[in-house]
């Protein structure tokens, strides 16, 4: 059979049901085979969105999402999508067409060295040179994308390799000798970690994105409840632990919850699970680790000691490590906790900030609209966000109740990710409501995905927190550049209601909270995408704010 047919068959065998993509000259052979397949093709209006949809699909389903793009500009258009997925450890397989082998290196029409371009932003890449290699390469690609610390994999297939006929075999299993996705957690290290944790008087659990990726929600909750240790998360880890749980303090970081940052800066021992201690989470590296014992659980050995000095490290899948933790703790039957004073203090801090954090007065404020969204959306709804002020307000004011239902471009910080990712999420879970908490600046970047949402029957809600401003940049210009505002004003363009309607979607502009509630309900019932345009005051800042290069205890608070 042809290489293209081998590709589609291999994808079918892999269980792929949806492909997000856009055809072009160099991937026509694979599209021609896709035509004959039961795999659903979801057409995008820009390849970047195909990559983000595959990413959103992958994060929600925990199976690699697949996107197709042609050679040259098609391939370079997915670069941001690859980098976004890789930065957030999301499983994704991107398949690009390439000019024929004999044309490579001759600056052919629509030729780009996508393997070279993508090298630093993918987990791995393949460029098969024979049709017979394709099934093995597909199998390896999915294996690498989905195992260990997941990531983005690129398959770049020259057009003649797609067209050539070869006798093809489909391997049941593949072995990659240089790839060790998991190591067994070291039991002695866990023993040491338990000892350290139990001997501390002010312990905290810091849950990162790794908890969500390995769906270790139940294990995390059991551990926290067994030892009665308060839980903070990173922003990537938001929703790793139900945010309405009495032990939950929410995310730490640049725009973390005041109570979380406060407790994080006071604790003496942190059990950090599946986190890479990003600068946005921990602030100044040297300040964070001062007077703090760090126990670090992570699947990726290269994360140990990268940003923080650890006292004890446990390398392995965090779910497996936590299970051993729990088993050993139960065997030891530890005294419940020797830190009741600490726990009482933590609750006081939490109560204080819940009561005393000054909120902006007014009707359509960030806090009010996001709490309204939370009130109306079913608990199990999936949330994606764009990048900017709205994203941080979502972190502050939208509590995740069902663990693992909140997704955001946290590592790369890709504006325009949330909407296509929401569509990908809807493709993965058509049974659940999906909302993209968006800002106008971000939505502008991929708003043409409205066409995909409407035409492919993947209705999602765009909760558009609209200040017609690149709001986060504007906030930094107000805070650090003496209000010299440049390049941030969107000048009330476009009209989002008419924009939505022009795509056949529903557009609703709201003027107060009651209308907002109705609009969300209308969106939940709608068969097409709903853009809810929520005008807010462009002067509203995200607070608290830990300025870059400072420590978590130096929060700028609302005055």
């Amino acid at each position: 059979m042809s290489g293209a047919k081998a590709l589609i068959k291999a994808l079918e065998k892999q269980g792929v049901k949806e492909i997000f993509g856009l055809p072009g000259g160099a991937n026509l052979p694979m599209y021609d085979e896709l035509f004959k397949s039961d795999i659903r093709h979801i057409l995008v209006r820009h390849e970047q969105s195909a990559a983000h949809m595959a990413d959103g699909f992958g994060r929600v389903s925990r199976r690699a999402g697949v996107c197709f793009a042609t050679s040259g500009p098609g391939a370079t258009n997915i670069v941001t999508g690859l980098a976004t997925a890789q930065a957030d450890s999301a499983p994704m397989v991107a398949i690009t067409g390439q000019v024929p082998l004999a044309m490579i290196g001759r600056d052919a029409f629509q030729e780009s060295d996508i393997i070279g371009i993508a090298n630093p932003i993918v987990k791995y890449s393949f460029q098969p040179t024979k049709a017979s290699e394709i099934p093995e390469v597909v199998k390896k690609g999915f294996y690498i994308a989905e195992t260990g610390r997941p990531g983005a994999v690129l398959l770049d297939i020259p057009k003649d390799v797609q067209q050539n006929e070869a006798s093809v075999e489909f391997p049941e299993e593949v072995k990659i000798r240089g790839y060790r996705p998991w190591t067994d957690p070291d039991v002695t290290a866990i023993e040491k970690a338990i000892k350290l944790l139990l001997s501390s008087t002010k312990p905290v659990i810091l849950a990162g994105g790794g908890v969500i990726i390995s769906s270790a929600f139940a294990e995390l909750q059991s551990l926290a409840e067994l030892l009665m240790i308060p839980v903070v998360t990173t922003f990537k880890g938001k929703g790793a632990f139900a945010e309405n749980h009495p032990l939950s303090l929410g995310p730490i970081g640049m725009h973390g919850h005041a109570e979380a940052n406060k407790v994080m800066s006071e604790c003496d021992c942190v059990l950090a699970i599946g986190t890479r201690f990003s600068d946005r989470s921990v602030g100044r590296f040297d300040e964070f680790e001062k007077n703090l014992k760090i126990i670090h659980l992570d699947v990726d050995p290269a994360e140990i000691g990268k940003n923080q000095t650890t006292s004890v490290a446990v390398v392995g899948d965090v779910k497996a490590s936590l299970r051993i933790f729990l088993r050993m703790l139960v065997q030891k039957a530890p005294q419940k906790s020797d830190h009741n004073v600490w726990l009482k203090h933590v609750h006081e801090v939490k109560e204080y900030w819940r009561q005393n954090l000054k909120l902006r007065p007014g009707e359509l404020t960030a806090a009010r609209i996001l709490r309204k969204l939370r009130e109306v959306m079913p608990a199990e709804s999936i949330v994606t966000t764009e990048v900017g002020q709205h994203q941080m307000w979502a972190s502050l004011f939208y509590d995740v109740i069902h663990p693992g239902t909140f997704f955001s471009s946290t590592g790369l910080g890709t504006m325009g990710w949330g909407f296509p990712a929401a569509i990908g999420a809807k493709a993965a879970r058509p049974d659940l409501p999906v909302v993209d908490i968006a800002g106008d600046g971000s939505f502008n970047m991929t708003e043409n995905s409205l066409a995909t949402s409407v035409l492919e029957n993947l209705p999602v809600i765009v909760f558009l927190v609209n200040n017609y401003m690149l709001g986060m940049v504007a906030q930094w210009q107000r805070t650090f550049y003496d209000r010299r505002m440049i390049g941030v004003d969107q000048k009330h363009c476009p009209d989002y209601v008419r924009l939505a309607e022009s795509y056949g979607a529903q557009g609703i502009r709201v003027g107060n909270l009651e209308e907002l509630g109705h609009a969300i309900k209308a969106g939940l019932k709608s068969d097409v995408a709903t853009v809810i345009d929520i005008p807010i005051d462009p002067e509203e800042d995200v607070l608290p704010f830990v300025a870059p290069g400072t420590s978590l205890k130096d929060m700028i608070l609302p005055s």
Partner: protein, 161 residues
């Protein structure tokens, strides 16, 4: 800052050298020297990389290299327990009659071979540790070094260590 010798067993496939050097670049680490050659098993190549950094950086680059799917084994060699050599070729200017004899004496003292001896220049070859090569370079500098080519370090752990 420490000087570290890294020995990598990698897949002998096109593009691997690019990936390894790109990793150094993307982590903002510097490669001091690099040498690559196929091993007794043609499926694998051996890369020897020397680099300079603080302990934390070296530890991090070893972990990052180890994480690469195309690396089979990554070892940081202890320079006291390894044999490490670099090949260097110098072309040195001969300005006056006595230079030739003096340079030959220096070469002998280092165990360097002499090639292509001419009236106005002489070529020296030395296989030695990078330190010895630097020492030789210092001694040759007054004569005017016209050209130099170094291969980068090749290293193997001593048996039993």
């Amino acid at each position: 800052m420490v000087w570290a010798i890294l020995s990598l067993l990698v897949e002998n496939k096109p593009g691997i050298l690019f990936k390894v050097t790109h990793l150094f670049r993307s982590k903002n680490f510097n490669i001091d020297s690099i040498s690559v050659g196929v091993t007794q098993n043609p499926e694998f190549s051996k890369m020897t990389i020397t680099t300079i950094g603080d302990e934390r950086q070296i530890e991090q680059i070893v972990k990052q290299l180890d994480k690469m799917i195309d690396t089979i084994e990554v070892k940081r060699l202890d320079d006291k327990k390894a044999v490490y050599r670099e090949l260097v070729l110098f072309r040195v200017k001969i300005s006056k009659a006595s230079d030739s004899m003096e340079i030959s004496n220096i070469a002998n003292a280092f165990g360097a071979k002499i090639h292509d001896a001419r009236k106005d220049s002489i070529m020296l070859e030395l296989s030695a540790s990078p330190d010895q090569i630097t020492n030789l370079e210092e001694l040759l500098r007054p004569y005017d070094i016209l050209d130099i080519a170094r291969t980068g370090v090749a290293a193997l752990q001593r048996a039993g260590d």
